[in-house]
Symmetry: C2
Amino acid sequence: MTETETTDTSAGTCAGPPQGNRRPDGADTYTISEVAALTGLTAHTLRWYERIGLMPHIDRSHTGQRRYSNRDLDWLALVGKLRLTGMPVADMVRYAELVRSGDHTYTERFELLKQTREDVLSRIAELQDTLAVLDRKISFYADAGRAPASERAR
Amino acid sequence: MTETETTDTSAGTCAGPPQGNRRPDGADTYTISEVAALTGLTAHTLRWYERIGLMPHIDRSHTGQRRYSNRDLDWLALVGKLRLTGMPVADMVRYAELVRSGDHTYTERFELLKQTREDVLSRIAELQDTLAVLDRKISFYADAGRAPASERAR
DNA sequence: CGCTTGCTTGGAGTGCACTCCAGCGTTCTA
DNA sequence: TAGAACGCTGGAGTGCACTCCAAGCAAGCG
């Protein structure tokens, strides 16, 4: 085996705050596998993110190995959040491009964030709707128990 | 072109309640394209759902064409809800199998629903977390406007 | 009767987001 | 200074959820 790649037991149900043990700014260099451990992503995915333009340029050691910084970790934390809103990776790349192209893209980024905010809000609303449906079904099953199948449930 | 397949303009942002014009029970037979229009799914997807076992057995006309009922529409509405919780199709198939195999699967279905409810709850929590992050960023951009890039934002 | 429109099937294709591989170089630990 | 563990690359492969295709049957209409 050439590469171990986090035999992922961590990201079970909760995906709790992975920002545990960061190094202080100034002494913040992490190898790819450290970042993998900290973010829950695989090293594969980190390299892939870079290839598709989702990451800023990552520092390299004198031999060409990636050295991540706290800033990169912050960016990955944001990406992680956006990812679980269901935002397509292509849109995140778009945002990354805006950041890279400088300060004159502020308003565009602002609009993008506001739009995303709206999307998240409506997704939450959808989920609460679904929750209501589930609760109705659950209480039906709770009532019915194994009573005669007078009204068959699906 | 042999099949028109809903040139999807409907499912834009909101995906509002598609349960508009149902026929009264007893006179409830719908063709596949009617169901497509009512649910926002394509006819392709409806046939695919059937193939993979996500649908109960659908009635057929004397020539073999599918005739959906209100009950089928109800089922599709539930599937739609579950789908947008991010539940994998395979899990929904599992639930469909439980329904098909009869009343003795009540408790298992009950457990599955409760688990799903938990999943939805934690997804909502995640999204609210993300919302907080977005709000912080948005207010940063709102404050910063095009002020000097003292603290560069990502 | 021919034409259009709609529905049927099995199987192949698509897009997304990873995920892995082979073959090689580097870094750490004993 | 071995040897194991880790990291590098380009490109190929995977799994999911559709999405489409080709060829054919069936109903309604002028």
